[in-house]
Amino acid sequence: MTPRSLYEKVFDAHVVEAETPERPAVLYIDLHLIHEVTSPQAFTELEARGLKVRRPDRTVATMDHSTPTLPPDAEGVRPYATIQARRQVDQLERNCSAHGITLHDWESPHRGVVHVIGPELGLTQPGMTVVCGDSHTATHGAFGALAFGIGTSEVGHVLATQTLLQRRARPMRVTVDGRLSRGVSGKDLALAIIAELGFGGGTGGVLEYAGDAVRGLGMEGRMTVCNMSIEAGARAGLIAPDATTLAWLYGREAAPDGEAFDRAAKRWLSLASDDDAVFDREMQLNAFTLRPMATWGTTPDAAVAIEDAVPQPATTAARKSLDYMRIEAGKPLAGQAVDVVFVGSCTNGRLADLRAAAEVLRGRHVAQGVRMLVAPGSDAVRREAEAEGLDRVFLAAGAEWRLAGCSMCIAMNGDQVAPGQLAVSTSNRNFEGRQGPGARTILASPASAAASAVAGCVADPRPYLDSAA
């Protein structure tokens, strides 16, 4: 039998009808996650055609993108940024109720960012196909699932048929040897990988992350790495399941239990690329040499070690990027004055991320004039963080502690960076205006973001970790 990559194995196991030159494969979808922003038009389309949601039991909804992160007022009214945002959430509630879809709404203890709650509930499992109308769906690939973002028309296809038309993508592999040093996280690794592959370097491909450094990451770090696959243009990124994966899944609400877990675990651990699987592109990286990274431009691949000089622009696009960012080539990002710091998002809004930020902030204070906002990735993350006292660390340091949601990553709920302000953000995109019109964004890890908040300028977190304040 032809040796296959992990991606190809998961893909092949979900083929309802095989791909031909004339037609893509009909691919079965195990789990469909939906949210308020990319689903309304899909439900409208279904209704216009008299179609039903075929498998509401394989569909799970949450509200995260346009939801406010400030609590309701005394009358219980939530501070939506606009009436439109409120209506969008209302429409999701109506659609889910009409079609029998489980919705994690304001009343649910599981509400949160879609890519945080799937793994948290154990809904995301190895070998599954997972889709969502959101490009960061690759996050779920950390479990050895084939997970990718789709558009609203395809949301309609999955709602109506539980399938999608898909052609096999080109498998690519990134192998990271060695071990990450203290203060260097999955986010730094993700930024280094994207810088190496290039923005668009993964277009048409699916990335598999392998090697000791990847194995050495916890599930949260692995999710961060897979999450950003799309920033290299790859629709999906995945990591073969191992003991770390099983430990995360064990005891989760939607995961199998008892003997069923043992049976599933055996199957999950068998999911791996064959030794002689052929990859369209292979890339090697060494973790030992990695240092905390940050971006200097307006594409996620424009990243450099915080303490290194920003490279001289080689292209018109890079020059334009630097002009927009008002960052000087030849000087390090360290020391660049910062206005806003954001910790959160589907990239870095999990408990491990909040712990990393709190470790830097404990006993310290956010610099004068800097606004720091922390939005947990889910309500469960919020509760766990509060149980550990992380909220008190953030509040004592002068940061804002918010409710769960996408918040300032996509800035469509009113949490915005003001025009011209420079933000260090743990999110995934530094595009022009991504965090608000005219906002300038530097992407970095939670520890680097927290260190920058304390320093009042972009800062390498390592000095903050070695000595307590």
Binding site: R23, V26, Y28, Q41, A160, Q162, F199, G200
Partner: protein, 191 residues
């Protein structure tokens, strides 16, 4: 979906590389629950100043969209999010085709489902299109050819999507017809 067969129209050139979906339609306009009306906000932050006044120097404010239905853009066009609002905004503005040397995967998939033809061309053809900005081109999907004067290049579109575009039908109807095969798959894979 409006069928796409042959289009002859003038181009608009946005030469920047990596034009992401946040440029095409900023996230703050995604609270809509319909597909209509997003053309007004297409490239919003390029077209309008902070007070909402149209910037006269932006090419998209200078042209008649009905006369310029072909967008020629720098490499890696449509990168970023999966928002289908991007092709909705572009088609509502008036575009029927996007030409670049590289177009992002999810954007391509979304565009094809909305009668917006993504056309990937070689560097030389792209340079020629940039040089002759605003001139008419013909994009013939039946022949899979882009013609500008005597310059003719072939392009490829995923065959199933191409058929859908030529016929003006979308894939949902076809997929809905596969239910027996889907049911068989489900029976076979029931835990």
């Amino acid at each position: 979906m409006t069928p796409f067969k042959t289009l002859t129209s003038r181009t608009v050139v946005l030469p920047a590389a990596n034009i992401d979906t946040d440029q095409i339609i900023p996230a703050r306009f995604l609270t809509t629950t319909t597909k209509q009306g997003l053309g007004r906000e297409a490239f919003h932050d390029w077209r309008y100043d902070k007070d909402g006044a149209a910037k006269p120097d932006c090419i998209l404010n200078q042209i008649d969209p009905a006369e310029h239905r072909v967008l020629v853009a720098g490499r890696n066009f449509g990168c970023g999010s999966s928002r289908e609002h991007a092709p909705w905004a572009l088609t509502d503005y008036g575009f029927r085709a996007v030409v670049s040397t590289e177009i992002a995967d999810i954007f391509t998939s979304n565009a094809l489902k909305n009668g917006l033809l993504p056309v990937v061309v070689d560097e030389e053809t792209h340079a020629r299109l940039v040089e002759h900005a605003g001139e008419p081109v013909t994009i013939d999907l039946q022949a899979s050819e882009l013609r500008m004067g005597n310059h003719v290049v072939r392009f490829t579109v995923e065959p199933f999507s191409r058929e859908c575009l030529l016929d003006g039908v979308d894939a949902l109807g076809w997929l809905a017809g596969r239910i027996p095969a889907i049911e068989a798959y489900e029976r076979e894979h029931a835990a």
